[in-house]
Symmetry: C2
Amino acid sequence: MTYRLYYWPGIQGRGEFVRLALEAAGAAYEDVAREGDDGEDELVRDWMRKDRPRPPFAPPYLEDGDQLIGQTATILLHLGAKHDLAPKGEADRLWGHQIQLTIADLVKEVHDTHHPLGGGLYYEDQKAEAKRYAAGFREERLPRFLGWLEQILTHNIGSDWLVGETMTYADTSAFQVVEGLRYAFPKAAGRALAKTPRLVALHDRVAALPRIAAYLSSPRRIPFNEEGIFRHYPELDD
Amino acid sequence: MTYRLYYWPGIQGRGEFVRLALEAAGAAYEDVAREGDDGEDELVRDWMRKDRPRPPFAPPYLEDGDQLIGQTATILLHLGAKHDLAPKGEADRLWGHQIQLTIADLVKEVHDTHHPLGGGLYYEDQKAEAKRYAAGFREERLPRFLGWLEQILTHNIGSDWLVGETMTYADTSAFQVVEGLRYAFPKAAGRALAKTPRLVALHDRVAALPRIAAYLSSPRRIPFNEEGIFRHYPELDD
């Protein structure tokens, strides 16, 4: 069974959290808008279909047989259970999901550092506002999110991972956040990560997993760029 | 077993989605910061504890015996399963959660209409930016979110509810969103809701459920106000 992932072809974005889980699982998937003949057109056409009883609100969404699943965190809940990438047991499973949703909140705030007035305006038309938003993000929010992940790792004694004893999608997502923050805010992320050595070690551990290492050095991994969520605008870093 | 809900005592906010589920279930719960002797101080003290292996990132969070669950959508996943408020079957369960996460995205955008530059600044210090953000929200995003819910209801033929045949937490959450939007944006929400009659009917159906009706007319329901997420600032509605 080959999954079909619907996401924008030119960016990592939110779809990357799904790609990393699929790669970590060694699952077969088609990245529809990247591999199909019609590229982004196929994605948009599929997304806009009006006949679906369970329409996805926005990409990314995943087709698994006759099931169509939207919302990054829901997709990970589904893949986690199927591919041994979720914690075992109901309480641990919920806790892993809680971490994922908090990472999703962080990702939304990262997006808002360059688009505080909304996605309907260009960055150039909200640059001054982006600077004000980004200052609060760098000084308050970024250290708080990363410190929270560090606290979790500190308390998960004897384990190399965020939840329980084994690697889960919460770990691949934490890896991605560290990668993205280092790209977008090299200065501010450097300062914050200097205080979260366990999170940095977790990042390195995920990066060294054979399947993840192979993915990262493959053409399937889209480089960060200024169309995605993690964008490097030097004026927003300090 | 009495649940303990930790949330800000003076607002509906994100905690209200949890309160509505608890009330719909007829579950016993203590709203800690509202009912305890120490009010908000108890919430803040508890939230800031550094000894927790699984710390909640932010209120609301729910104590269920020795389990502490944060993130509104995770709490609802937990309560839904325990109190017959979630869809049955794995695919339906995921679909209900996907709706909840999309409602959460809408709620975050509502928050950002009055705080586009972040929670660290007062509304008064970002009023001009709020006007620009709110315009895009009213014209683009609000109709799109509500239209998406309407499409779901249209396709769930023969049912009065969003998912399957029975009422779930997705329905109480959709009710709350309609209530909040009508309070915050009476003009814009009125226009959008005129095009979503099934969503309006769903709202009315939830409001008429005996337990919900009793809750809404009780002092436990905090009135909307300008400290919460849904705030009525006439200058942001048009």
